[in-house]
């Protein structure tokens, strides 16, 4: 929810009161010789007193603020003509000084014209003065929505921001991309700044790929910020807004300020409690007509036969019709029993997820300072059995005035989180249940697998429907767990000393300390980890920032020209430590301990250190409060670059003009601002990219082994550079009932440091180079208004539209294409699917083999099977044509109701899940918009009888009716294209169509237009009447709300939620889906009490 009708809440007003007091304090209050007092009251348009309004004697520097009752008293001197009354978000009013006894003035409100927003360096500024786009949400927008990851609650609420949430259980990450992807190296995550201190939001992956360690989503960092503690989130879009956070801000900044005790004097208590229930938004369209087996055959022999007569470990659902025929099955002890469907077997495996969050905070504001302390307990059990998340958050904020000139503020967040098991959504049989579903027998009742050990072989040998390929799902979730414990401290101390009324110096020290232990258990008999394994990852991250800031505030209401300036320096130090220890084979079954290793423990140990020193300056110049010009400059020195190239300077300039203050724009257009910005940001690289090294490999017995790294380092690296220009306008009509904010931008990222692949024949597989230029261009539109506003009903509506296009302008010399991810799904063979950048093309291409087609686009067949191209083709980009979010809130009396629709138009997504479900014959395939054949068409059916020994005898029935004819063309004997008329077995066709056999290198088969619309949120709230509250429970406000998330999805994409992505090598890859966990559909009840 946006900052709509501004500052109606008393907290906002009082917050401003504090701010304005400081401002006036800075302006000084000279004593007048001949004076008289003017007193009065300032009211808002509801005739309620307006505290904190500014009252100025026009043409002087004398001013004051209204008190909590809206009253003011100000000295006037002879010759003073007018009083000026102003309040942020309202139109200024002037009254002549005429000696009347009491001045009463009503300020008319306009919506959101002059909100105060938090900008870089934590400086609060009026949005009016900014020359770049910024969009803010108050904490309610995220705390009200019961999610475990506050960031994902921003989805659809801010233009220009693309938030993709993984569905990977309670720890799911949220990928935040602002204004498109500019980086070839794949890290396009926005920088998160919490109370002025940057925190990394990368996936903390120690990615060696073993045990699925690169596909398990342990969560990214920003999610640990507790929604209940968030006071405000501002999104600074693009480098102009972010130039002062340096290098890491090139992809934009999400500023989060946590709550403090500032606000109403005295002690207050807040209690929030919420509980949510989660189900499944969507499941594949499973078929229930045919069961396990292959080519129409199935009979259980020993679970290891996939040919001949039995096909009991064929691992697919191409078996006999589920018509109740008597067939020997895996759970029948050799007896032939009716072969029937278990329709909801996959769905029934999942359970209702329950998340409860309880929060209590006490806060106090007094004359000397403020204080707040909060505790939050989050307990979540995921929709996948035996998955969970527990999180304790203690947050503390305290501000203290020491003497008249010194203020000290500390913020501290301690977060302890942990999980016994995080679900793996990867293509990894050792712990991903989603992998197993692809081939899960349609006839297997899920409950029959609950006893997942073979009798007498507990902890040694699992029981499953077959022995060769997959693991029992209950075995996976209960035995092969991926647990973690994380301790994180994010804190800072800032001391501000006002040297003079206008000059202050602030020293701030912040730290982000993160320690995490991950535990991967693989029980004995896990497929491909037959002897089991146990691994621990110990991950430590530590970042400190020391910042000194010198500020000059020259604001003077008397003057036409105003100048403020800041000068600062920052020292950043970062240390990452990774220690992995793996017992690759267990000695004693069921004991998961590094000591229980059959063959020694394999360890890896890495330490990465990095430092950036910075000096920066800002100047804010304004003329008549109508023209604003901001200039910034920053110089960074990064440890990661070669010493002779490690210093880089980057400037920015932004300007804005308030047209409505200069021209008469008609009586409907009340406010018009235009703005322009130019900015550059420099960038560095990761540690240790300058010199070639040798890497340790697994020892050979007691002989150590090392090999030269296949990645060539580069001692001649230059800093990266991103430059951007932006133009925008902010228009308000009808007293702000309708507002439009439009921004156009172009962002060019140059000299990017990437790992460019090399031909292996050079002896190396990649080299680190400066390369390439990516251009992002886009338009963001925020349309907001109050279509209905009367005594009964207020309807506030905000529409966010985003269109971004990233184009690759150049790569390194002689290089036309760059594989960002060379092989999305390793080990499939074939030519692989890749995620690429190509010169002259949009960023993020989905590349693989395509179908051979005739001029009309028909697929060409040979021997009845579709033919593929010899070389890989570019199938297009994941980039959507348009992202939209439409947020609505209706307020009638004490009730509020709201809904948020979000979605995208265009863009591509490749669903590997769909392709594999189809090749396994597990789904009907009726919902594939590209492909008219169903997996149920033309299946082999046999008349089966059993011999005395239980061996099935297949009597072929009506063979000529089997098989399907693929839609498309083929070459006839004369070499002309004619309609394909060759029938092939259904499995062969589907396998060939979706997978190119098992090569799975066809990008076109399961590629879909990712257009979707989602009912993202539905909110119902009730404010309990204050008089009832005060008389019954001594509370001052209370709300009860019912919130649903991910309630409805409309899309043509089959099988999956298109709002998903893959995690590959610790990076988030949009446009590719593989074995993603189902998106949870949640409904929750929340109660917020304020005392």
């Amino acid at each position: 929810m946006l900052h709509t009708p501004p500052l109606r809440g008393h907290v906002g007003k009082r917050g401003l009161l504090f701010f304005m007091t400081m401002l006036l304090f800075a302006a000084g209050a000279p004593v007048l010789a001949q004076s008289q007092m003017a007193t009065g009251v300032v009211l808002d348009d509801r005739a309620e007193p307006l505290p904190g309004a500014v009252v100025l004697v026009q043409g002087s520097t004398r001013g004051t603020l209204t008190d909590l009752n809206g009253n003011f008293a100000i000295e006037t001197a002879a010759g003073d003509m007018q009083l000026r009354f102003s309040f942020v978000g309202f139109q200024d009013q002037m009254l002549p000084i005429d000696g009347r006894e009491r001045y009463e003035v009503t300020l008319g409100g306009m919506i959101g014209i002059d909100e105060v927003v938090i900008t870089a360096l934590g400086v609060e500024r009026s949005e009016k003065s900014l020359g770049y786009a910024i969009q803010s949400l108050d904490g309610k927008a995220v705390s009200e929505v019961p999610v475990t990851n506050a960031v994902s609650a921003l989805n659809g609420k801010i233009a220009g921001v693309n938030i993709q949430s993984s569905s990977a259980g309670p720890t799911a990450s949220a990928n935040v991309t602002i204004r498109g992807a500019g980086s070839l190296s794949g890290n396009n995550q926005a920088l998160f700044v919490v109370n002025g201190i940057p925190i990394t939001n990368g996936l903390f992956s120690s990615g060696d790929g073993l045990n699925g360690s690169t596909t398990i989503d342990f969560g990214n960092a920003a999610q640990v910020i507790n929604p209940d503690d968030i006071a405000e989130i501002s999104v600074l879009k693009g480098p102009a807004a972010a130039a002062l956070y340096g290098t890491r801000a090139a992809a934009g900044v999400v500023l989060i300020n946590t709550k403090t005790g500032q606000g109403a004097p005295g002690w207050h208590v807040d209690i929030n409690s919420s509980t949510t229930l989660s189900g499944l938004l969507r499941m594949p369209d499973f078929q229930n007509e045919y069961g396990a087996g292959g080519y129409g055959r199935y009979s259980y022999s020993n679970g290891a036969t996939y040919t001949g007569d039995f096909y009991d470990a064929f691992g697919e659902n191409w078996g006999p019709r589920l018509d109740g025929s008597a067939i020997r099955q895996w759970n029948t002890n050799g007896e032939a029993t009716p072969f029937t469907a278990a329709p909801d077997n996959v769905r029934n495996f999942f359970r209702t997820g329950v998340t409860s969050r309880n929060h209590v905070a006490i806060s106090n504001q007094s004359e000397d300072g403020d204080f707040r302390m909060g505790y939050t307990h989050l307990d979540s059990r995921g929709i996948v059995p035996n998955t969970d998340l527990t999180r304790h958050t203690i947050s503390m904020s305290s501000g203290q005035n020491i003497g008249e000139r010194l203020n000290v503020r500390t913020n501290l967040n301690y977060i302890r989180s942990g999980s016994g098991n995080v679900p793996n959504a990867g293509y990894d049989e050792s712990s991903s249940i989603m992998y197993g579903w692809l081939w899960f027998q349609r006839n297997a009742p899920i409950d029959d697998l609950q006893n997942y050990w073979k009798p007498g072989l507990e902890n040694v040998q699992q029981a499953n429907t077959e022995e060769l390929w997959t693991n029992n799902p209950w075995f996976l979730v209960n035995e092969n767990t991926n647990g973690f414990n994380n301790d994180r401290i994010i804190g800072n101390v800032a001391a501000t000393y006002n040297l003079t009324d206008r000059v202050s110096v602030r020293y701030r020290m912040g730290a982000d300390i993160n320690g995490e232990k991950r535990r991967f258990r693989r029980a004995m008999s896990t497929k491909s980890v037959l002897l089991g394994s146990y691994r621990e990852d110990d991950l430590r991250f530590h970042e400190t920032n020391n910042e000194l800031l010198l500020s000059y505030d020259g604001t003077d209401y008397e003057k036409e020209w105003n100048l403020s300036a800041r000068l600062g320096g920052n020292i950043m130090r970062q240390t990452t430590e990774i220690l992995r220890a793996n017992a690759p084979q267990l000695l004693i079954p069921g004991i998961f301990n590094l000591g229980n290793s059959r063959s020694g423990v394999i360890t890896d140990d890495f330490t990465y250190r990095k430092g950036i020193n910075s000096a920066f300056g800002v100047a804010n110049i304004s003329y008549k409060n109508r023209f604003f010009l901001d200039l910034t400059g920053r110089n960074d020195w990064s440890s990661t670059l070669p010493t002779n190239n490690n210093s880089y300077f980057y400037p920015s300039a932004t300007a804005s003009a308030i047209l409505s203050d200069m021209f008469d724009l008609g009586n409907k257009l009340d406010f018009a601002k235009v703005r322009a910005a130019y900015a550059e940001v420099g960038g560095d690289t990761d540690p240790y990219n300058i010199r070639n090294v040798y890497v340790y490999e697994n020892a050979w017995g007691d002989q150590p082994v090392a090999a030269e790294s296949a990645d060539l380092a580069n001692a001649g690296l230059l800093p990266e550079r991103t430059s951007s220009i932006e133009f925008g306008a902010d228009l308000r009509w009808w007293l702000g009932r309708l507002g439009l904010d439009v921004a156009w931008y172009q962002m060019n990222s140059r000299d990017q440091i990437i790992n460019l692949p090399l031909a292996a024949t050079s002896g190396y597989t990649s080299r680190i180079v400066n390369s390439g230029e990516i251009q992002n261009r886009g338009i963001e539109v925020v349309l907001r208004g109050q279509p209905v506003k009367n005594d009964v009903l207020t309807w506030t509506s905000t529409l966010n539209l985003t269109r971004n296009r990233s184009e690759v302008l150049s790569l390194a010399d002689g290089v036309e294409s760059y594989q960002i991810i060379p092989d999305l799904y390793p080990n499939d063979g074939g030519q692989d699917l890749s995620f690429e950048a190509r010169v002259g093309q949009p960023y993020g291409l989905l590349v693989g083999l395509g179908f051979q087609r005739d001029d009309a686009g028909n697929i060409i067949h040979e021997n009845g099977l579709p033919m593929l191209t010899e070389n890989k083709v570019n199938a297009g980009s994941y980039q959507p044509d348009l992202l939209f979010g439409w947020d609505n809130e209706f307020r009638f009396g004490r009730f509020t109701a709201g809904f948020l629709l979000n979605g995208q138009l265009g863009g591509l997504i490749f669903s590997r899940s769909h392709a594999l479900y189809a090749t396994a014959g597990s789904i009907t395939n009726n919902d594939d918009p590209n492909m008219p054949l169903s997996t149920l068409d033309g299946r082999e059916t046999y008349d089966i009888t059993y011999g005395a020994d239980g061996i099935p005898v297949y009597n072929a029935v009506n063979e000529s009716s089997w098989g399907v004819v693929g839609p498309g063309v083929m070459y006839n004997a004369e070499g002309n294209l004619v309609e394909n008329d060759v029938a092939v077995p259904t499995r062969d066709y589907i396998l060939s169509y979706y997978g190119n056999g098992f090569s799975r290198d066809n990008i076109e088969s399961a590629l879909y237009d990712a257009t979707f619309i989602k009912l993202k949120e539905l909110r119902l709230g009730f404010d309990i009447p204050a008089d009832w509250l005060s008389s019954n429970m001594n509370a001052s406000s209370a709300t009860i709300s019912l919130v649903g998330r991910n309630l409805l999805l409309f899309t043509d994409v089959p099988t999956i939620d298109p709002e998903t992505y893959s995690i590959r090598a610790g990076r988030i890859v949009p446009g590719f889906e593989s074995t993603a966990l189902p998106t949870p559909r949640t409904i929750g009840l929340a109660i917020n009490l304020h005392f």
Binding site: V693, V705, T761, G763, G829, N871
Partner: protein, 503 residues
Amino acid sequence: MKMNPLRKRTLPVLSALMALFMWAGCGELSELNENPNQPESVTPDVMLPGVIRDISDVLVGHAFYISNCASQLSAKSLRNEVDVYNWNAVPIIGFDALWPSLYGALRDIRNIEAAAIERGDDRLLAAAKTMRAFAFSVLTDTYGDIPYSQALAGNNGTYFPAYDKQADIYLADGGLLDELDAAHALFAAAGPGTVSGDILFGGDSDLWHRFANALHLRLLVHCSAQTDVSAEFAEVAGRPLMEGTAHNAALNYLNAFPNQFPIIPLKQGDFESVRFGQAAFALMEGSNDPRLMQYARATDATIGSDNEAFEGWENGGKGCDDTGSRLGLTYYDYPGHPTTADKAPGVWMSYAEQEFILCEGAWRGWSSGDAAAHYAQAVTASMVDHGADPADTGLSSVEDFLSQEGVVWNDTPQRLFEQKWLALYFHGMEPYFEVRRWYTDGGGWDGVPFLTPPCANTNDDNLPLRFIYPSEEQSLNADNYAAAVERLGGSNSFNAAMWLVAP
């Protein structure tokens, strides 16, 4: 506005403060970028085991998935692209591809050579040259023209090496044969001694010397259709050679992860998707070959009984005969009953193979020597390598086996090829290379009468003659790739004949 008295002092004080602050942060930046994790140089004895392991892993993986199947020693029951000659889509599952793995190993071999020269360690230098020739020979025999003389120089800025002609790779100065001559000269001059860090021969440079000469013979046989090798063969045959199975160039894997036989971590389903081949089964069953009990695993119903039953799987697609034994117990650990038997080694080249080569040299008249004796040595050595017990097939001894009709040396290449083919089981890519040579030398399948085209193959019954270049070469080394493909006749085709097998 009144001047604040503080202001006079403010600026200098603050400037000093800022300067102090900035100074505090400088100075240590470059230290921060010193890598504490990885060294910038290591000694060659640390590189050597990794290189040997990498090459061995490639050989085992490619024998299992590619070469045994392409030569019909085994057959795939799933994903049978190799068997049906759909070599545009050959899957390599669970093992690194041949091309990047061997070029990766060659990077470290280059480093070992450089270190050996620097240290004046001629034995190490000669061993490195031998490994280098071995790895490059597998590469060129697989693909044809490959980057050779300009390869492995990315650290000097050669990012796009040209492809050398295969004839030059074999025969030119600095080519494979030349390098092996140089290795022999170095070994001979240095005399027996130690190769530090070696895990292939336990550091014995004399065994490296013998392997280098045996490899030299192998390569001469490979190119014998294109050039007269007789003189060189005779000369090399007189150098020190392997003298028994103890001299095999084969890596004995350790019995523990991650240095175990590389197939063991596979899923059972993936392991069992390779079955013992029908052609090999028929030949071995017909000659009471006791290696069958080691090559293949008896059916579940009969394993461990007195009458163990075996079957062969016909190479080819659906509709072909699809029952066959799984591979032997030395190649995998079955869940529930891991075997106590030692696992197979990673074979680079065996004494048995060398004896078959000498047999062929004698039979062709390249060198003096007794073809029959070399034949008997070869078969006997192969029996020893696999721990075959003649009693398993009712024979009293290997001599007994050798004297049978159909096995006894009859002075024909067919007899030699049959037995050499069986002995090359799990010898890296060599079984395919040899079958290909006999096929092209003999004018097609007549050259390998013990084989027939795979059932339901997709290549008009033609044995593919090479593997296609990896697809990434197209984008990563486009111009040189295009020139190499041009020399193949314009297409990266698996039917194009490389120099070795050119008509």
